[in-house]
């Protein structure tokens, strides 16, 4: 009875072939009992306070990604100086970055800092998700002062409030609300979005005082497609029995992709891919895990889980595969193609209806990447994901994956979560024993 759409699945996306399985110990940061000395401190928010985070990626082929994430503000300032372009902060990965990039704009995803803060209470009611409040805090605290504008592609009500409060309370030159359709399973969504993209393009042109040339848009689409293809190729290596990168490193890599010029990121990915065949993690792979949820940029949590004797081999969240899984078609009108790309990408649950297409996609990913268990992480108060959790958990369990449900806030109780994660991993190992 439901309308048909192109269903995203684990086989879809960039057509890169699986990479060869690497076997080499590359230099890496160390931490705790499994990795060695305490790493340097890390900055979570743009110019924010420093918070110590144990991290494997302080050196080696992933160091660049980590540095970009930690020093995103410096990167953006240097980029502006180098290119003369503007920087737009965007909320939600439905933002059509290609269009901004074609206009000579660096799109930067606005993320939180995972620090306790006391500035958003007057602006966002505490029943809304910690992520949206954390992001707004960054704006109110002046940590994104290098932005020339902000934009949002319509997604959930939570992050929308970050945008509207930012509009009013953080000095900014430009802001734009793109009514990204929700009914992505409807055949009418892409044509509608294409028209909205044209309006957005006109708005950008009006702001910048120049037209976005057609070749520039084609070039941007190519660069972004290339980035997705390279990320996909790195991800493919995680299917190996002993993946050459940790979940933490993969997260650093994708987070950086949301912050820096894709050409820089592509060059780093090319370099990484050249080194991966010779690389291996300096520890056993341990339990192969998947992580699912809304967004997860909590490096500290990922690190803690992997330090307990596990490796995240795949994910389904918008700071991971949902960000880059689908490419833009090569032929046709560029705005139509972009619209189709964003409508047909792996959906956020708020757009995944009437059919639940993300659930079979997630199960297929888990199987393809050989996950033994899955951590279902839930941003507190995130309604669309909360509505999917029972169905998602059941599907994963039915597919033979054990699951651990954890509810996240701005900060996570690492100690308590560690006890639960250790118990979960012990449970997975029991399967090996018996």
């Amino acid at each position: 009875m439901n309308e048909k759409r192109t269903e995203p699945n684990a086989e879809s996306g960039n057509p890169a072939a699986g990479a060869a399985v690497p076997r080499f110990s590359a230099a890496c940061g160390t931490c705790g009992s499994t990795c060695g000395p305490q790493p340097p401190t890390a900055t979570h928010g743009g110019d924010g306070n420093r918070q110590p985070v144990a991290n494997q990626t302080s050196a080696g082929p992933f160091a660049a990604f980590r540095d970009w994430r930690l020093d995103r503000a410096a990167y953006a300032r240097q980029w502006k100086q180098r290119t003369g372009g503007k920087v737009i902060g965007y909320f939600c990965t439905y933002a059509p970055e290609e269009l901004m990039y074609a206009a000579g704009i660096l799109p930067v995803r606005i993320l939180g800092s995972h620090e306790v803060q006391n500035v958003t209470e007057p602006h966002i009611f505490g029943m809304f998700c910690p992520f949206c409040r954390d992001c707004l805090a960054q704006g109110l605290l002046g940590r994104y002062e290098y932005l020339d504008g902000i934009m949002i592609a319509q997604s959930c009500l939570h992050i929308r409030q970050t945008f509207t409060s930012w509009q009013k309370h953080v000095p900014i030159d430009y802001s734009y609300y793109l009514p990204m359709p929700h009914h992505v399973q409807s055949r009418h969504a892409a044509p509608f979005l294409a028209k909205e993209l044209a309006i957005f393009q006109a708005s950008l042109e009006d702001w910048l005082g120049r037209k976005i040339a057609a070749p520039a848009l084609e070039n941007a689409i190519d660069i972004y497609n290339r980035n997705r293809q390279l990320l996909w190729r790195v991800y493919e290596t995680r299917q190996a029995a002993d993946p050459p990168l940790s979940g933490e490193e993969a997260l650093e890599m994708v987070l950086a992709a949301q912050m820096v010029d894709k050409q820089d990121h592509n060059a780093a990915l090319e370099s990484l891919l050249a080194r991966l065949p010779e690389r291996r993690l300096p520890r056993p792979t341990g339990a192969r895990l998947m992580i699912l949820g809304s967004k997860d940029d909590d490096i500290e949590f990922i690190h803690m889980v992997e330090a307990c004797g596990a490796t995240f081999v795949i994910d389904d969240h918008c700071t991971g595969t949902r960000y880059f899984w689908n490419n833009t078609d090569p032929d046709g009108d560029p705005l139509d193609r972009l619209a189709r790309r964003y409508v047909q990408r792996v959906p956020c649950p708020t757009k995944d209806w009437p059919a639940r297409t993300r659930v079979p996609h997630a199960v297929a990913l888990a199987k393809k990447y050989g996950a033994q268990g899955a951590i279902v992480m839930q941003q507190k108060f995130c309604d669309p994901h909360e509505a999917d959790v029972p169905a998602l958990t059941k599907a994963l369990n039915d597919a033979g994956l054990k699951t651990l449900f954890l509810e996240f806030d701005v900060t996570v109780p690492i100690g308590q979560f560690k006890v639960r994660v250790e118990a979960f991993l012990e449970m997975l190992r029991e399967d090996d024993l018996f």
Partner: protein, 438 residues
């Protein structure tokens, strides 16, 4: 705030009819199959006139008022909430939704008997939960046909042909889907009739609310809840449109005769978002101060369709029929329906709290308010979205605000004594004493 003057009061003559219509609605739905009719379930915000084209024996169960009805019965509500939580759902989800799911899980209909399973689901998606709500209902019922229309094309001030097209195209698909799903032939004449009824219902409700600008107010909000609910149940139904015309005439008469909702009106307030349905007695508590809530953007703008009047005030939107427009085709009916509904005030705030603040300030000015009660409603993210910015905007404009936290449908999240204490303090800041004493 004025002097304490004793106003004449009188019960609404049409009150029994409102109750009768509401009860009939829930009975009709439950007994539809006995009469060979169809049952559908969906939101009060959905395009309910469209399934009306399937025949005159098609009955709906709208989810939000049903969830509110459960909330009013605290014991049932608690059992519903706990059933939903046992099924693995978070307790911070929409409280109406949890009540509704619990009713399905327990197989208990709030109006007696087992839960009447719908034949299909007809919904629209405006907040994060609306489409997901019925996705889960479908799961719980073992799979039900589900069609949902996306209406999130941006605020009405930016309406454009391609936005209307997006809605109308989905509506056309929806009608084809209804025919396939039910095996019935669709009747465009019934659609046109239902759409026109809805224009009438929603415009007339705005007219009723406009009459509350009068001092003393002829209606108070607790009573209005029992009247506006008919629009959330069956806004496309001729009986509801006719009832609202009768109500409007009676309220006009009350204004003409100076009949007030409460005898001691001296402090005019408005609320915001749904009230805590299990604790409507707080409105009676307010009256001890001579304080009256004359409505809210929620009460006015969820069902009412408004527009600027020639004198610059806010009033009922002129219906196509009042403009002499004759709707002749399915497509024209759907286009006018889409445009009409997109102008719903309560939809605008989803895009920006600043739009909502502007509407609230307008109400505060035109309805001559002394303050605003903001219900930080943990039960509804859709109507609580941006509420903290509304508070700042109102305060910035000089409107006294009292915020209180609660939940429209989950009594576990409402502290009655605390809210009353806050109200006492609010009245003190406004210089209002109990029993209307200065």
């Amino acid at each position: 705030m004025g002097e304490t003057v004793r106003h004449q009061t009188a019960p609404l003559k049409c009150w029994p009819k409102a109750k009768e219509l509401r009860l009939k609605y829930y009975e009709d739905y439950a007994r539809a199959h006995e009469r060979g009719g169809l049952r559908w379930a969906g939101g009060a915000w959905s395009f309910s006139a469209i399934p009306a084209g399937l025949g005159r024996d098609v009955y709906s169960l709208t989810s939000e008022p049903y969830g509110a009805s459960i909330a009013f019965d605290k014991a049932l509500s608690l059992r519903c909430m706990e059933a939903t939580e046992r099924a693995g759902f978070a307790r911070d989800l929409c409280a109406y939704m949890r009540n509704y799911w619990g009713s399905v899980l327990l197989n208990e209909y709030a109006f007696g008997g087992p839960f009447p399973k719908p034949d299909f689901l007809w919904q629209d998606h405006i907040c994060c939960s609306h489409a997901k709500w019925y996705q889960v209902v479908s799961d719980l019922e073992g799979g039900l046909p589900h069609f949902c229309i996306d209406v999130a094309v941006g605020p009405y001030q930016d309406v454009a042909p391609h936005k209307i097209d997006y809605l109308v195209n989905q509506m056309h698909d929806g009608i084809e889907w209804l025919e396939r799903t039910t095996g019935r032939k669709y009747d465009d004449e019934l659609l046109i009739e239902a759409v026109q009824n809805e224009f009438r219902t929603t415009s007339t409700w705005a007219e009723v609310c406009s009459l509350n600008k009068h001092v003393p107010a002829p209606l108070e909000e607790k009573t209005m809840y029992s009247l506006y609910v008919l629009g959330t149940l069956n806004k496309h139904d001729r009986a509801v449109a006719d009832f609202y015309a009768e109500l409007r005439d009676e309220v006009r008469e009350r204004v003409a005769q100076g009949i007030a909702a409460i005898p001691n009106e001296r402090c005019r307030l408005m609320s915001d978002t749904q009230p805590p349905w299990g604790f409507l007695n707080i409105f009676r508590y307010m009256e001890e101060y001579g304080a009256i809530s004359v409505g809210s953007l929620y009460t006015f703008g969820l069902i009412g369709i408004w527009e600027d009047q020639p004198d610059g005030s806010w009033g009922p939107r002129t219906t196509p029929m009042q403009q002499g427009i004759v709707i002749k085709s399915r497509d024209e009916a759907l286009r006018r329906y889409a445009d009409w509904t997109l102008s719903k005030p309560e939809w605008q705030h989803f895009y920006s709290p600043h739009l909502k603040t502007a509407m609230m300030l307008r109400i505060a000015r035109e309805w001559k308010l002394d303050g605003v009660l903001l219900h930080y409603n943990r039960g509804c993210e859709g109507l609580s979205v941006g509420i903290a910015e509304n508070r700042l905007g109102l305060i910035e404009a000089g409107v006294p605000v009292m915020a209180f936290e609660g939940n429209m449908g989950d009594e576990r999240e409402f502290d009655e004594a605390r809210v009353k204490a806050r109200f006492d303090a609010f009245m003190e800041t406004l210089g209002v004493k109990k029993n209307g004493r200065a």
